[in-house]
């Protein structure tokens, strides 16, 4: 079997294993889904009128503003689960067994990554469904824009997942993994997800504007709602590819080191 075929076959075996875990123990995934859904309801129904007024509209305008950021935050929340389950997995003897088998080395991690991206997509669909149920509507988006939006979400999930896998690998236990991955769900609070960057203090604006979430949020907004995308499109792609590559090399080099 060629290296590539071996890699594909072993990765799909590992993916099946991870999906089996996720299906049999869905509580972690569902718990992590609660955060974005609660924030969605909180910001729409409790703060929505005031924040909407700040944007020059009302609650329904605020729903439109909020949802793209929350969809990306959902990914941040889902990958915390990835960091935790990778860290848990590494403490299991079965990983040592995998390391002594003639399988493709990276397949253990690739299985986690693909499984986690699929979970992210499912979570995004669920949160998106809640958003539609409370009144979110995409305006003027063509099929191509929808596909691009979907592609961006997948790429973003891939990037954050590789980073989360690295975090899970360097964490000694599940608690540490959860703490280490916390920035991935806190970063959206410091982005344009909830309020526009213009509304933030001047010294903070560059940080908020150029962190990974804001360009992705602005791009998603543009694709779904027709707002200006500008340089945010390529900025988002560069961030995603950069983080994915960084996370990939970090994770694989950590995994290939001798286990303790």
């Amino acid at each position: 079997m060629s290296t590539l075929a071996l890699a594909a076959r072993d990765s799909s075996t590992m993916l099946r294993r991870n999906l089996l875990h996720a299906r049999r123990y869905p509580s972690l995934t569902l718990n992590l889904l609660l955060t974005p859904i609660m924030l969605l309801l909180l910001f729409v129904y409790i703060f929505g009128d005031t924040l909407g007024a700040g944007l020059g509209g009302g609650r329904s305008e605020y729903i439109a503003y909020l949802v793209p950021g929350l969809l990306l935050m959902t990914i941040g929340s889902t990958v915390i689960g990835t960091a935790v389950s990778v860290s848990n997995d590494m403490t299991e003897g079965i990983i040592a067994r995998f390391r002594t088998m003639a399988i493709h080395r990276g397949s253990v991690l690739v299985g986690h990554v693909i499984g986690s991206v699929l979970q992210s997509v499912m979570s995004v669909v669920l949160v998106g469904a809640v958003a539609v149920a409370i009144g979110f509507r995409s305006t003027d988006a063509t099929v191509l824009e929808w596909l691009a939006a979907f592609g961006l979400l997948v790429l973003f999930a891939l990037a954050l997942t590789w980073i989360a896998v690295g975090m899970g690998l360097v964490s000694p236990n599940a608690e540490a993994a959860s703490n280490n991955a916390m920035p991935l769900i806190l970063l959206p609070l410091l982005s344009s997800a909830f309020v526009p960057v213009d509304a933030m203090p001047g010294w903070f604006q560059p940080i908020a504007e150029y962190q990974p979430f804001t360009p992705a949020i602005e791009t998603l907004r543009g694709l779904l709602l027709g707002s200006e995308i500008g340089h945010n499109g390529w900025l988002a792609v560069v961030w995603c590819v950069g983080l994915a590559v960084l996370g990939y090399f970090w994770s694989t080099s950590t995994f290939n080191r001798d286990p303790k």
């Binding site: 067994r97 002594t100 286990p259």
Partner: protein, 316 residues
């Protein structure tokens, strides 16, 4: 000369200043059971981890070949030849026993029907059919260990590493495990076994190496090693001083303890040894109140093997 399944020269490994393996030579012929015997912390697990490609050997190590392949140059070829059951259970607790077996079959690239057949056969052989649909995390220690070995056997490895396979098992499970290990070798498989129990090495191994403090302290068959051990003796205890004196007279090579009216006679504890002692007592018309056989244990082995280096410690 028979082919060597495992050949290691000058195996070394240290973590920082701590030397775990300090130049260990190993030669295990194909189709035999080799036991690495030693106390906790002797370096047994480190040796297994290196030989099974889990961790890299120390930079100063000599050539290491497993299954005819160079360990550092071609670890994947080594991995294809071996199966490993580590000290801590290497089963996926979140999925069922059967799913664990099918996972192994998939990773060995067996076809679906082949994999299902191999899984079913091994589950049957290791008495896990009833538990096959339950999550492995719910298994008892003995069942987990059996599942662990069953998973190791998927793909028919030619060399099997077992790191303390019976530690923590109850006596019945331990004997089952011994039976399993004996069956493995009858199929021509090579077994590399670590244990802290002399009895276990004695039961199973063709050759035993005693690892102490990162070095091989002695190597040989169980018989050869036992000859190194002076610890075996028969102890006779008396309540009647007259009988005690009679026994002292008839067993002149014994060590006396006049206070407790007991005698120690050096002995390997074999049937013939015992019979000879009893016959001598009978012919002198002496009856002991208590007879105990003390067989050499790991403590004795270590005492014997380390005393040559440190003569001071031989004085008890």
């Amino acid at each position: 000369m028979t082919n060597l399944a495992i050949a290691a020269h000058g195996l070394r490994k240290s973590y920082g200043d701590k030397v775990v393996l300090d130049g260990v030579d190993l030669a295990v012929p194909e189709g035999t059971i080799f036991s690495l015997l030693g106390p906790n912390g002797a370096g047994k697990t480190t040796a297994v981890k290196i030989l099974s490609t889990l961790i890299s050997p120390g930079p100063a190590s000599g050539a290491i070949r497993v299954g005819g392949h160079d360990l550092t140059a071609d670890p994947q070829a080594v991995r294809a030849a071996i199966g490993v059951t580590g000290q801590f259970s290497a089963v996926d607790g979140l999925i069922t026993g059967e799913e664990n077996m099918l996972l192994m079959a998939d990773l060995h690239h067996l076809s679906k029907p082949e994999g299902r057949r191999a899984a079913a056969e091994l589950l049957e052989r290791f008495d896990l059919v009833e538990a096959a649909k339950k999550p492995a995390a719910t298994y008892s220690g003995g069942m987990k260990r059996r599942l662990d070995i069953a998973m190791t056997l998927v793909g028919n490895p030619r060399i099997i590493f077992l790191d303390e396979p019976t530690t923590g098992l109850d006596p019945r499970s331990r004997h089952n495990m011994w039976q399993i290990i004996r069956e493995l070798v009858s199929d021509g498989v090579t077994v590399f076994l670590t244990t802290q129990y002399l009895e276990e090495a004695d039961e199973l191994a063709d050759r035993i190496a005693v690892l102490n403090d990162g070095k091989i302290a002695a190597e040989g068959t169980a018989e050869e090693l036992k000859r190194l051990i002076p610890g075996g003796h028969v102890r006779l205890r008396f309540t009647d001083p007259a009988a005690y004196q009679g026994a002292v007279a008839t067993l002149p090579d014994s060590t006396r303890d006049d206070e407790s009216l007991s005698l120690q006679i050096p002995s390997g504890g074999s049937q013939r040894d015992l019979r000879s002692i009893l016959e001598r007592l009978d012919s002198a018309g002496v009856e002991a109140d208590e007879l105990t056989v003390h067989t050499p244990d790991l403590d004795d082995v270590f005492f014997a093997l380390t005393s040559t280096d440190q003569p001071k410690e031989t004085v008890r």
